[in-house]
């Protein structure tokens, strides 16, 4: 079966007087509806790999395939459109727009996409917030929320356009243990709904709750406990 997302010899080198290799020839495939935790020491290239997979960054070498389709030829506008339609991002720091209420933050991707009418967008946003137990905070500004609430609001925003992929970069890094476990539980639930969830974390305990654990060191995959087989001709491989 064609993987939902696939890294093929993915390499990212930061140019400069002394070029820095962030990701070195990574081949990984992700099945639809899987929950993968990427871990590794600081500077191992976890976040860089996530940004490459999420179309936020351009690889120096190799490519990302989406449901078997290459993405290397896409221009910035097309990549932005892909992020809008197919990806939802959750970062360590919630990155909510501070002047907007929680509801308006969740509405933001939907308004950009423009597929739904005003009332449908509001209803969908409220349903997402309700599912994350955040409905009562819809009218609040991010500054009035706790850390856990902000991160749940960020997850609601990431889900706004019903993306196939959830890319979480250290989503629990700024949370206490209880909230961290709750966020990972939410991410696991999203995977069970059929979304492909990839979460970067340095917390091995949380990583253990994922379906699959990938470990990076110096930009290379050194461990993968549930590699996905790529059909012949898929161009990718597993570690």
């Amino acid at each position: 079966m064609t993987p939902a997302l696939q890294a093929v010899n993915l390499t990212r080198v930061l140019p400069g007087p002394v070029p820095t290799t962030l990701v070195a020839g990574v081949d990984l495939a992700f099945a639809a509806g899987s929950f993968t935790a990427i871990s590794g020491p600081s500077g191992s290239g976890k976040s860089s790999l996530l940004y490459l997979l999420g179309m936020l960054d351009h690889p120096t070498q190799g490519e990302v395939r989406l449901f078997g389709e290459p993405t290397a030829a896409l221009d910035d506008e097309q990549r932005a459109r892909l992020r809008l339609e197919r990806f939802g991002f959750v970062f360590q720091f919630h990155f909510l727009l501070p002047e907007f209420t929680v509801l308006d933050n969740v509405l933001l991707p939907m308004r950009k996409l423009g597929r739904l009418g005003t009332s449908a967008m509001r209803a969908h946003a409220m349903a997402l917030l309700d599912a994350l137990d955040m409905a009562s905070c819809a009218g609040k500004l991010p500054a009035a929320l706790s850390g856990g609430q902000r991160q749940r609001a960020a997850i609601a925003r990431a889900l706004a356009n019903d993306p196939a992929f959830i890319m979480a970069d250290e989503p629990t890094g700024a949370l206490d243990t209880r909230n961290a476990a709750a966020v990972f539980a939410i991410l696991g639930g999203l995977a069970r709904q059929g979304r492909t969830v990839i979460a970067v974390t340095h917390d091995q305990g949380l990583a253990a709750t994922a379906d699959r654990r990938v470990r990076l060191v110096d930009g290379r995959v050194v461990a993968d406990d549930a590699p996905v087989a790529v059909p012949a001709g898929g161009g990718g491989g597993t570690d």
Binding site: D76, A80, F89, F91, L96, R111, K112, G173
Partner: protein, 414 residues
């Protein structure tokens, strides 16, 4: 639901109320001053122009020849390079030859009215003092078809010259200087010799100082007698039904009759060029206020771009394209510009209304107030300039915002 760029722009601006207010006030000041000063300038120039057009001929034919006829030496050596300078007109004095036939031909032209005039200098003498004036001898019946001077008459009438062979119509300002009034007699002396008693039958006030102080009107026959030039006219005044045709009509008439025929744009070219310079200085000065306001807009948007680097990064990661980010900040500039234009239009209207209450300095009529034009094109020009300035000021920071690499910000934050 309002468009996304507008919603984000309003959120950014409302979070910086004081800075936004200062920027809006800057634009408002520029727009207000532009409207008020531009209106004043247009009012003054429009009044001056209409007075020139109404009280003077649209086209003036004089007894001059722009290009002298070929001289005998040139005719003798047509292939040679012959240059002749300082060609002088023949004495005795010139005049428009065949004026009667020319007038008849001009009368036949549709939309053209013509009147013969003899222009000459004279000294008006009263109470032992002399006043140098330009005397226009006019055919009253014809002159009434080419001038609107009758509407500027404050006493007596221009028509009275038709029944008063030694009648004199002069400016109220000159009469005041001479201490003369309607019905008084003044003595006119010319270079042709002799003195002629003239009776004041009309006083006018055009508001144009040069006209009111130095131009007087007498019947054509009286002027011909005073100047010693019987049956001579040296000017033909023309009025057109369509003033916009003055230049081609003048060229056609000059081409047909040979005498210098100048449209009003040529006759008053110096005044019009002064107007152009005046406009350049005025609009340049008021426009520079808008430029300074533009720096204010640049400042606030640059600040927002710097402060909002994280928000820009998250918007990019969500899927907003670079042009969406440009749109957000351009809309911010536009919002400041539109608010400034609205407030500035109010300021401009208020200033213009205030100036309209002020007496016109130097006006002969003390009840005359400053003329300030308030027109849609003027407001439109001010708004257009302000919005263009706002957009230009927002463009650079918008581009910088769009070029923000979201990863730089996200990596920096994590």
């Amino acid at each position: 639901m309002m468009p996304l760029p507008l919603a984000i722009a309003l959120a950014h601006l409302s979070a910086r109320k004081r800075q936004t207010l200062v920027s809006v006030l800057g634009v408002a000041l520029g727009v207000g001053v532009f409207i008020a000063v531009g209106g004043l300038m247009q009012g003054f120039q429009g009044y001056f122009r209409s007075q020139i057009i109404e009280t003077n001929p649209h086209i003036l034919m004089t007894d001059e020849i722009r290009r002298p006829a070929p001289q005998p030496l040139q005719l003798l050596h047509p292939a040679a390079a012959v240059a002749i300078s300082r060609i002088l007109p023949r004495d005795p004095v010139r005049g428009i030859s065949g004026a009667g036939a020319i007038l008849a031909a001009l009368d036949a032209m549709p939309g053209v009215a013509a009147a013969p005039t003899l222009r000459g200098q004279a000294i008006l003498r009263r109470a032992g003092r002399d006043y140098a004036v330009t005397v226009l001898g006019i055919d009253v019946a014809r002159e009434l078809r080419v001038t609107n001077l009758t509407k500027d008459m404050v006493q007596g009438s221009l028509q009275a010259l038709a029944t008063q062979p030694n009648g004199l119509v002069l400016g109220q300002a000159l009469a005041g200087k001479m201490g003369a009034s309607l019905g008084d007699t003044v003595v006119a002396a010319t270079s042709a010799g002799g003195e002629h008693g003239l009776r004041i039958v009309g006083l006018f006030n055009t508001g144009l100082e040069q006209q009111d102080q130095s131009i007087v009107y007498v019947p054509l026959a009286q002027q011909q007698s005073m100047q010693g030039r019987p049956r001579v006219v040296n000017e033909i005044h023309l009025k057109l039904a369509d003033i916009t045709r003055s230049i081609p009509t003048a060229a056609a008439i000059e081409g047909r009759f040979g005498f210098k025929t100048a449209p009003w744009e040529e006759t008053y070219a110096r005044v019009l060029s002064v107007f152009r310079l005046q406009n350049l200085v005025t609009y340049g000065a008021t426009g520079s206020i808008l430029l300074v306001a533009g720096f204010g807009i640049f400042n606030i948007i640059s600040t927002v771009v710097l402060e909002k680097a994280r928000d820009i990064a998250i918007m990019r990661s969500i899927g907003l394209a670079a042009r969406d980010i440009v749109a957000v900040f351009l809309v911010e500039g536009l919002v400041v510009g539109v608010l400034g234009v609205l407030a500035g239009s109010g300021v401009g209207f208020g200033l213009a209304t205030l100036m309209r209450q002020m007496p016109s300095p130097g006006a002969t009529d003390p009840s005359q107030r400053l003329l300030v034009v308030q027109s849609v094109p003027l407001y439109g020009l001010a708004a257009g300039l302000a919005l263009a300035t706002a957009l230009a000021a927002a463009w650079l920071p918008s581009r910088r915002a769009a070029q923000t690499d979201p990863l730089d910000v996200i990596r920096g934050a994590t």
